[in-house]
Symmetry: C2
Subunit: 169 residues, 2 copies
């Protein structure tokens, strides 16, 4: 029995008790969340979100790279979200990641170089990195000024979100 | 009261009853999920995942772009996951997205062109697009052969996952 088989058995039960089959694509709460992929972040439970409430965009570190930007532009302009929560967390695997070491290891183990990904986006400090992601969004001409944007650090020990001021350091 | 304020009030309750504070970063089930950001997909509930079980990577469409690849490489090589579920869904907002129309609208509304994102990754057909994402991963030299990879379409009407064969069409 693999982890995927387990998940599929659970989905069978989910489908049998599913009552959210009449929802449209635009998120009901007009909310988007951009968060780290970390396994300890169960976003729906953490924020009490139901099916249909919010877009959830996740990647390693909760970074505003080209793809998160792509997803957020779709979210705001095509599907009408008007608020964004950016969620990083304590004990993140990207904190202190040695990018060149990882790249060398991958090249050595696979015997091949690769064009993509060009960067891994490891970072050295949690709050300044979070502010940098906010600034990248705020400076992009296609991110609507009308979108409310707030940034948080999730404490994996306590389950609590702490807001990080948006002001530049 | 904004959607973010609502979510923060819910997080206060979550933190008060939080019991998962002793988990390490590597996912317990050694599972990663790459899924669309769509609001109707509540991944943890859909698959009965608990805090600590699995990485969850999400973007518009569940596309294997440079960033999803970055996140998956971190997941497999740095944090030890060994299975991957790729989850697209019916009624996806990226189905039939007219990329050039969207780009023109953004340039017109903002009065500015932008370098990124270079693509929006709209697609025309669900199953072939899903197979294309699988093929991009399988052909990348840094994605370990040992990772079990399976692809699914989530039916937003029934809550049920349907597996899509990995074979090329």
């Amino acid at each position: 029995m693999t982890a995927i088989d387990d998940a599929l058995r659970a989905n069978e039960h989910y489908a049998q008790t599913f009552t959210a089959g009449n929802l449209a694509a635009p998120p009901r709460r007009r909310l988007a969340v951009l968060a780290c992929m970390d396994a300890r972040l169960a976003i729906h439970r953490m924020l009490a979100l139901e099916e249909g409430d919010a877009h959830v965009i996740r990647n390693a570190g909760g970074i505003v790279d080209e793809d998160a930007l792509r997803s957020l532009l779709i979210s705001h302009h095509v599907l009408g979200t008007r608020e964004l929560m950016l969620i990083h967390h304590t004990d993140c695997g990207m904190l202190g990641l040695r990018e060149e070491e990882l790249r060398s290891k991958l090249i050595q183990e696979s015997g091949a170089a690769a064009v993509a990904p060009a960067r891994f986006y490891g970072f050295q400090e949690l709050e300044s990195n979070l502010r940098e992601q906010m600034a990248k969004l705020r400076s992009h001409p296609w991110v609507p000024d009308a979108v409310t944007m707030r940034a948080f650090i999730f404490d994996v020990r306590t389950g609590r979100l702490r807001e990080v001021a948006a002001a530049a350091e």
